[in-house]
C-alpha cells in the first residue's frame, strides 16, 4: 500500500490555508490542515501512531484563529519533542524581530524561518525546493517515491522520503520499525550502486551522504 506522506499546515487565514492544502494535494501529499493551534495539536495527537508528517508549515501569528486555547509555540514544542524528524518551516510578519526568533527557537530549536512579507508564492517556492529534492542520483517523485535516476527504480517508504528531504541533515527516527525501513533503504541504495549512501550516527540517527562521482552532485559538506 502506498500512503501519501502527510504535511501538517497551521494557518489561521482560511483562504491561505486552502491555497496551501491545494498545493500539497496537487503534489500528492496528504495535507493535515488546521486553523488553530488546538486543532493542530489534536491532529498530531489523533494521528500519533498512524502518521508522522514529513513536513510542518506553521504560521507563528494566529490572530484570526477560531480557538486561541493554544499557541503556535505549543505546536512547535510538541513537534520538537515528539516529531523531531519532521522539518518545520515557521513563517511570520515579524520574523526579523529577535524576540520572535528567540521564542520560536526556544519552542523548536531546529525550525526554519520564513518571512511572511515575501508572500505566499515565496513560501511555496521554498517548500517545493525542499520536497522536489534531487540528492545525488535520487529524486523524490510525486511526494510518494524516491526514484533512482539511472535505473528509474522506485523506493516507496516514507522514511526514505524523509531522509532525502532532510539531506544533508541527520534524521532521528522514532521507532524500530522506522529504523528497519531506513536500513532497508540503505541496502536498496547499495544494491543499486547509488552515489548516495546511508550513514549511521547511532541512537537511531541517520543521514544521507553523496559520494562525489561523475554525474552526481557532490555533498555540500564535502
Amino acid at each position: 500500500m502506498r500512503a501519501n506522506p502527510e504535511v501538517l499546515i497551521l494557518e489561521d487565514d482560511a483562504e491561505t490555508l486552502d491555497e496551501l492544502q491545494g498545493h500539497f494535494t496537487r503534489k500528492r501529499f496528504h495535507p493535515l490542515g488546521a486553523r488553530s493551534a488546538a486543532r493542530a495539536l489534536s491532529l498530531l495527537e489523533h494521528n500519533r501512531y498512524s502518521s508522522r508528517p514529513v513536513l510542518a508549515i506553521i504560521d507563528w501569528d494566529l490572530g484570526k484563529a477560531p480557538d486561541r486555547s493554544a499557541s503556535s509555540g505549543d505546536v512547535l514544542s510538541r513537534l520538537a519533542r515528539e516529531l523531531r524528524e519532521c522539518p518545520v518551516i515557521v513563517y511570520s510578519q515579524n520574523i526579523d524581530a529577535f524576540n520572535v526568533r528567540s521564542q520560536i527557537q526556544r519552542s523548536h530549536p531546529r525550525a526554519l524561518l520564513h518571512d511572511k512579507r515575501d508572500g505566499d508564492a515565496s513560501l511555496l517556492e521554498r517548500i517545493d525546493r525542499m520536497l522536489d529534492r534531487t540528492v545525488g542520483d535520487l529524486r523524490i517523485h510525486d511526494g510518494t517515491v524516491v526514484v533512482h535516476l539511472p535505473t528509474l527504480d522506485q523506493h516507496h517508504h516514507r522514511e526514505a522520503i524523509r531522509l532525502v528531504v532532510h539531506h544533508p541533515d541527520i534524521v532521528t527516527f522514532h521507532s524500530d520499525t522506522a529504523t528497519k525501513a531506513v536500513r532497508r533503504f540503505g541496502e536498496w541504495l547499495h544494491s543499486h550502486s547509488s552515489a548516495v549512501r546511508l550513514v549511521s550516527h547511532g541512537n537511531r540517527k541517520y543521514r544521507l551522504a553523496v559520494t562525489a562521482t561523475e554525474g552526481a552532485a557532490p555533498d555540500p559538506e564535502a
Partner: protein, 256 residues
C-alpha cells in the same frame, strides 16, 4: 461516580486538578494533568473546553518547550537574559553542524542537562553560572566562549571575547575545525581523513578546541586516545605544557 484528583498543594506548584472517573486507573502526574488542561493527553476527554481544569489562553508551558527536549545532537547552549545572542549564533553556525539551544539563566542548567551527553559548546554573556551549569563546565570538555566579563565558576580553558563579531568568528572556526584531516561530521561525531565516522563528544570537543585544550583530568580523554590509536589516526590526546589536555600528533606506529 466521579472522584476529584488533586496532585499536590498549590504552594508546590502542582495546583492543577481534574475530575476523573473512578473506572479509569490513569497514572496521575503533573504532566498528564497539565496536558489534560490543554485538551490533550490521557485525560483530555475529562477536561473539555470550558470545563473544569481546562486552561484557556495559557501557552508556552516551560516544561514542554522544545529547547528542553533531550537530544544527542551536537548542541551549542547560549545563555543570555534576552536571547539576542542566540539568534546571532544561529545565523553564524551552519544549520547541519549544531543545534542552537537558547537558554535563560533560570533554565540553563536544565537545558544543559538535556544536551546529551553534554553541550558541545556553551556561549554566554552578562549572566552568572548556575551551580548545575558550573559543574558541567568544570567536569566535562565543553568549549566555553564568553562575551564580556567572566562570571565566577568559568573553567580555566574558557575563551573570553570583547566583541560579538570576534565571538561569532571563533564559533564558526570551531565548527570548521580540521585537525590532520579530522573534522566535525554534520550533527555529531568526527570524520577521519579516510571517511570513517568516530562517535564521541570528547573527540568533537578536542578537534574543535585545537590547538587549545581542556584543563581537565587525563582520565577523561583515555577513550579518545584509544579510539584514535585503533584507527591509526596519527593523533592522540596528551597534556601540554600549560597543563591542558589537547590533541597532538602521535608517534608513528612501527609494525614488526
Amino acid at each position: 461516580m466521579s472522584v476529584r484528583a488533586v496532585s499536590g498543594r498549590a504552594t508546590d506548584g502542582y495546583g492543577v486538578s481534574v475530575s476523573a472517573w473512578l473506572a479509569h486507573r490513569t497514572p496521575v502526574t503533573t504532566r498528564t494533568l497539565a496536558e489534560a488542561g490543554r485538551g490533550h493527553g490521557l485525560l483530555r476527554s475529562l477536561a473539555r473546553l470550558g470545563g473544569e481544569g481546562y486552561l484557556v489562553g495559557v501557552s508556552d508551558a516551560p516544561w514542554m518547550l522544545g529547547v528542553r527536549a533531550p537530544d544527542r545532537s551536537r548542541a551549542i547552549l547560549v545563555v543570555t537574559v534576552d536571547g539576542e545572542l542566540a539568534v546571532a549564533v544561529r545565523d553564524a553556525v551552519p544549520r547541519r553542524m549544531a543545534v542552537i539551544r537558547d537558554a535563560r539563566p533560570d533554565d540553563a542548567g536544565e537545558i544543559a542537562g538535556a544536551c546529551l551527553p553534554w553541550p558541545w559548546m556553551v556561549v554566554g554573556s552578562d549572566v552568572s553560572l548556575t551551580p548545575v551549569l558550573a559543574r558541567i563546565l568544570r567536569e566535562r570538555p565543553v568549549l566555553t566562549f564568553w562575551l564580556g566579563a567572566a562570571p565566577d565558576g568559568l573553567p580555566g580553558h574558557a575563551r573570553l571575547f570583547d566583541r560579538p563579531a570576534a565571538l561569532l568568528d571563533a564559533i564558526r572556526d570551531a565548527c570548521e575545525a580540521n585537525v590532520g584531516g579530522m573534522r566535525l561530521a554534520p550533527g555529531s561525531g568526527v570524520e577521519l581523513g579516510d571517511g570513517t565516522l568516530l562517535r564521541g563528544a570528547t573527540l568533537e570537543s578536542l578537534v574543535a578546541a585545537y590547538p587549545d585544550g581542556f584543563a581537565l583530568p587525563a582520565r577523561n580523554f583515555r577513550a579518545v586516545s584509544e579510539a584514535l590509536a585503533r584507527h591509526n589516526a596519527g593523533w592522540t590526546a596528551q597534556r601540554d605544557s600549560s597543563t591542558r589536555m589537547m590533541l597532538v600528533p602521535s608517534a608513528p606506529v612501527t609494525r614488526r
